[in-house]
């Protein structure tokens, strides 16, 4: 601390312990916007989130399947089945439009952090629980110039 009481910001000076800020009061049901989560059983592959995303960061693949176990005499019907759902976190701006627009409430804010990515392609994340296609950012790859055992 400087003689006048101001914080000493010179190199080498330790920072004083700040008082932790009071926890912001949360409205009921409010979730921190750390990532976006998909409830696969609720997703009908309608593509509305894909169409509405201003950053074009959602990709959804689906296919048609015949609806099984129809009552006798019913006409044959098909429905869409979700194959893959990814968000490109290299573009996603966390606007929340996809979450608002989903007619089935299949998308929601999540407090689960997305792990650090090893590269550009690893920023494309599947929301279905499928395996990530990009290489994982393993600690030994994090540091350039570090000799790693593996």
């Amino acid at each position: 601390m400087n003689p006048d009481g101001s914080q000493d910001l010179s190199p080498g000076a330790p920072r004083p312990d700040p008082e932790p800020p009071p926890e912001a009061p949360r409205a009921r049901g409010e979730t921190r916007h750390v990532s976006i989560a998909l409830s696969v059983p609720d997703c009908t592959s309608c593509d509305i989130c894909v169409v509405e995303c201003p950053a074009w960061c959602i990709e959804l693949e689906s296919h048609s399947e015949a609806v099984p176990d129809l009552p006798p005499g019913a006409r044959a019907r098909t429905h869409r089945v979700l194959d893959s759902f990814t968000i490109d976190y290299g573009r996603c701006l966390f606007c929340g439009i996809c979450i608002e627009e989903c007619p089935f409430d299949a998308l929601a804010w999540s407090e689960v952090a997305e792990p650090t990515a090893s590269g550009r392609h690893d920023l494309v994340r599947p929301l279905t629980g499928a395996r990530r296609s990009g290489a994982t950012a393993r600690p030994s790859r994090l540091v350039e110039g570090l000799v790693s055992p593996d």
């Binding site: 593509d47 894909v50 169409v51 995303c53 074009w56 959602i58 990709e59 959804l60 693949e61 689906s62 296919h63 048609s64 869409r80």
Partner: protein, 182 residues
């Protein structure tokens, strides 16, 4: 608490704001614009003021026609509004009479025939996306979904190479107004 919202005629813009200031809404929060393209051929100019003690908000709005968006400047009432007006002028093309008309970010219009657009208007062309595949296009075996086009992006055949005898690019015809539900 939600903001109080007042709509005034463009001719009463300055007097309407003066009245609000006199009532105690004396802190300038921001002045912005909403492009009503798809609902009306207007730009909605919005001023948000705060009542300092309670932090309650008041939005005063007016409509100006998109083709000739002219409004009196609020600079004599709120000096800080001049900066917001310069930004509105740059991004939407609104002209504030008696205000500061120096561009803030966007250069002044160029040569005749150049595609002049204001970046935040809804008819601004997202040229960088014209040739990119849009994830929202119906693909594969999806024959049931209606064909849509991405907002702000004209079809490549309208925007790219055109016959040599085609006339000047008609900017107004590049995009259709968005379908607005709300």
């Amino acid at each position: 608490m939600p903001d109080e919202v007042r709509r005034v005629e463009a001719a009463d813009w300055v007097s309407g704001v003066a009245a609000a200031l006199a009532q105690g809404w004396c802190h300038l929060d921001w002045l912005g614009v909403v492009d009503e393209w798809g609902r009306a051929a207007d730009l909605r100019v919005v001023l948000r003021l705060l009542e300092p003690a309670s932090a309650a908000g008041l939005r005063i709005e007016t409509l100006v026609p998109r083709a000739e968006p002219v409004l009196d400047s609020l600079g004599t009432l709120l000096a800080g509004a001049r900066w917001h007006e310069r930004e509105a002028s740059d991004l939407f093309g609104v002209h504030f009479t008696g205000g500061d008309d120096r561009p803030l970010l966007v250069p002044a219009p160029g040569a005749a025939g150049e595609l002049r657009e204001w970046p935040l208007r809804k008819d601004a062309v997202l040229a960088a996306r014209v040739a990119l595949p849009w994830p929202g296009a119906a693909t594969g075996d999806d024959t049931t979904r209606r064909r849509l086009s991405p907002p702000g992006v004209p079809a490549p055949e309208q925007f790219g190479a055109r016959p040599a005898d085609a006339g000047p690019l008609d900017a107004a015809a590049l995009l259709a107004p968005p379908r607005r539900r709300r």
